[in-house]
Amino acid sequence: MVFSALSLSPLPCPRLRYHPRTRPSAAQFSVRCSGSVSPTIQSKSALFDLKTYWTTLIGEINQKLEEAIAVQYPQQIYEAMRYSVLAKGAKRAPPVMCVAACELLGGSRVAAFPTACALEMVHAASLIHDDLPCMDDDPSRRGQPSNHTVYGIDMAILAGDALFPLGFRHIVSHTPPDLVPEHRILRVIAEIARAVGSTGMAAGQFLDLEGGPESFRFAQEKKFGEMAECSAVCGGLIAGAEDEEIQRLRRYGKAVGVLYQVVDDILEEKRKERGVTEPEKNKAKRGKSYVQVYGIEKALEVAEELRAKAKRELDGFEKYGDTVIPLYSFVDYAADRGFIFGGESSS
């Protein structure tokens, strides 16, 4: 059985607290066999308490986001921005992936937090615009009504327009220059801008709306893989990763991002079969799904291929030892959804 059934309570598992360390020295490496590190990491990952790691990070990121979007005149725009960014149902996958990638390479989360927050702002902005009536026309998001249904289409467009530059500004104004040299900050800016723009998510959204079946896979990679790819890469850049490491993180991120969406589509199909879908969401969503295009069997195959691909990329970080475990666990979480968050919703 590839995927666990949709469960409403966390799977029982022994809790092994994970404490991120500075770059491990050779002496700290555990003894392992001369083959691939994967079997050892695999077993450690199975014991790793991803839920606690993730929810702890969510708490820290939420606080920083709250401070970053303090209400001032004119209040309406800040309220609209906060409504979407601080939504309770948000899982904060982009910021958490950024921090995990940074810590994988021995970087500090203090250095990564401003970029992590910026990723969430930019992610929220793209979701606000995606949900607009002229785009996906989604009436709900993160377990609450979409931004435009509460604040109006004009305010929703402006909230997105304000969140993009706020993200860039936040990185520059809050990243400690003693921890991250300015030329790396510029690379982070360029990376996020690229991911959001005409060769990234904007392209994906466009093709999702107006492209034909031949562009489906490309559109999905752009629409869903891009943010995860960007998050992993930014974490690596903050930590000072080598170019080859950046490329690995890029491929890892893209695979996990798309995997997450494929599994979302499969779970949606299973919910439909059991008659437990939200009809309002079904009617409104205009985009295509993996299951619609390929059928459920092929979608399951694609998911397994992506799981294997993401983990293969992480094999290249062998020398960093256990710091790879959170990123490794994400892959299995994306595929199996071993637990849910309070107020779980997509994105």
Binding site: D161, A162, F164, G167, F168, V172
Partner: protein, 241 residues
Amino acid sequence: MRYSLLAGGKRVCPIFCIAACELVGGTLPVAMPSACALEMIHTMSLIHDDLPCMDDGDLRRGKPTNHKVYGEAVAVLAGDALLALAFEHIAAETKGVNPSQIVRPIRELGRSIGAEGIVAGQVADICSEGMSNISLKELEFIHLHKTACLLEASVVLGAIMGGGTNEEIEKLRSFARSTGLLFQVMDDILDVTKSSLELGKTTGKDVLAHKVTYPKLLGVEKSREFATCVEVGSIRKCFHL
């Protein structure tokens, strides 16, 4: 993206940027990526401003507005993509300058076009529609943020890229603010005195949308007088540069 960006336009923001850069001793090549980025931002704000849910414009820079040709969805995405490209362009294409001189403009631009800048002006503008008791101060807020902000960002970016001192940057900022206000007052006057054909963009929208403008608050004649005052102030600031 190209349709709107390359439709012509006066290129005021890029020119201000380059002029400010050269004024403080910098060179055109150093300022060019920022100059282009500013035009991308300006274009993006026009595309979104013209959307049906916003100002609902049919004509811009002498041609049908972006959403009229490409549809609303593409117009929204084109605006978003231009905004992103602007930041990418500055970060990746600026050469011959310290990274610290590129990071500061990014921060400045981020502040100028977001909820403390252009968007603040747009929101205040929307919220003032149909209201009869908007003060001159609130109107000035709208214009300083909606229009002057980007001009301010233009000269500040140019001055930073050109290696200007903090004092020079602040003087340029003050100059650009009053010049931006002047632009907008004149824009308001032209909106009620000229036709769409003459201006190349939809006119008469302000009245239809019950927007508060200088002519509405002061009348056309007093607005012209106010514009002259602002112009004089601007010229004075120019001589102090």
